[in-house]
Amino acid sequence: MGTFLTNSSIGRKLVMSITGAFLVLFITFHMAMNLVALISTEGYNMICEFLGANWYALVATVILAAGVVVHFVYAFILTFQNRKARGNVRYAVTSGHKGVDWASQNMLVLGIIVIGGLAIHMIHFWSKMQLQEIMGNHENALGYAVTDGSALIAYTFSNPINVIVYLVWFAALWFHLSHGIWSMFQSLGWANQTWYPRLKCLATAWTTLIVLGFAAVAIGFYIKSLGCCAGC
């Protein structure tokens, strides 16, 4: 029964849309969680402890990784099939089409930037926290406790180069999701003329909120690292 998920175009889009929706929900949660770090160091580290190397956090990590892998693999399959369908001979003259957003034509490139940022992010955080815990360490190479997420954030974002790299990553994510969020409703068939303006508005608002939340933490900790607000 499930073969249509691999061998029909609409089935493949369903997989893209469900894995995409799952990642959007995760990333929304992650953004909300990060905001805690701006407010309370202890609060944030409590969340980090809760999401350490225990069975439920590990199960969630594996499911999440599977979601990213499936979305990524399908993105490449889709894009290669589409290039083949387009054919080898291209138009000599092309021009933009009214109402077609740039992001919708560049989802793979944007996704690749997103995964690149994800790899850097995993090295910065995951490899120094959950991975160390899995390996049985209580401290990482930087000398922080493996659940001291706040210290790691402060350390990472005291470096302005990291701040810029993360901001580029967030920008790519913004474009990817500004199309992706309404597109996933369309792929599921949950859209019509009345709902297009609403879905597109929802997509823009949601992705802007996610990106602003993440950016606030990166920039906030960079400003704190300058030490100009000694009180905080």
Partner: protein
């Protein structure tokens, strides 16, 4: 008006093609685009050259035969009209106009600007019809159909099968065409009964013929001469997915 035409010339499906430039003079602004090509062809024949092959039939926007990718747009720069419904006043005097055939792997070039759009016929043959017995014309009021449904069905039925959707799509996807056909029948009681079978059969044929996966760019809707909405693609997705989940 005077123009420089840059036209794709290709002897047959197997030969390599190239652009050839033709100057054309004294064209009235009220000449239709296809009449302008007729004038060019007359001049070519008088000079003993091969005329430019291009598809056309009704010349009133109903048959879907005319195609042509003109200055980067399927059916030219006008919105919601076919190539045959476009006039030279749409261009500026002295313009260079580039004319190309549809470019999509499923629509191979046969000669010059003519492509084989048989793939769309094959998709229609796979399920774009009603096979229930409807007998002779019934009383118009015997089957009440809500006005909104009838309107939506008619909007989708406006599709003329021209191929501009797949020719415009960066993914070479035929979804707008298939969606228009599935949607126009799904909204009427006679078509509704075979809705699930139709969606599955037409999508299977579309995939088999090598059309791409829709990524919801909306370029098809922007270039469709009948302004068919991608809301019909959402309905096709619903029809197909619910049919598959019920299997």
């Amino acid at each position: 008006m005077n123009f420089t035409l840059k036209i794709w010339r290709q002897k047959d499906a197997k030969s390599a093609g190239k652009f050839v430039e033709y100057p054309i003079k004294n064209i009235s602004p009220d000449t239709s685009f296809l009449e302008m090509l007729d004038i060019l062809n007359n001049e070519l024949i008088q000079k003993g050259e091969e005329p430019v092959a291009f598809d056309h039939d009704c010349r009133e926007g109903i048959c879907g035969m005319c195609s042509l990718h003109i200055n980067g747009h399927a059916h030219g720069p006008s919105q919601a009209v076919t190539t045959c419904q476009m006039y030279m006043r749409k261009f500026k005097d002295g313009d260079t106009i580039t004319i190309e055939p549809w470019r999509s792997a499923a629509f191979p070039v046969i000669r010059d600007l003519v492509v084989n759009r048989g793939a769309y016929d094959q998709i229609l043959q796979a399920g774009g019809f009603v096979s229930v017995r409807t007998n002779s014309v019934p009383d118009g009021n015997a089957i009440p159909i809500p006005k909104a449904d009838a309107d939506e069905s008619m909007d989708a039925a406006a599709c003329i099968g021209c191929g501009a959707c797949a020719a415009t799509c960066k993914n070479g996807s035929a979804m707008l065409f298939v969606a228009a056909r599935v949607s126009s029948l799904a909204k009427l009681p006679q078509g509704r009964v075979e809705g699930a079978r139709r969606a599955k059969a037409m999508v299977a044929k579309m995939d088999e013929l090598g059309f791409g996966n829709c990524t919801n760019t909306g370029a098809c809707e922007a270039e469709c001469p009948k302004a068919i909405s991608i809301a019909h693609i959402a309905r096709l997705n619903r029809e197909f997915l619910s049919a598959k989940l019920k299997d």
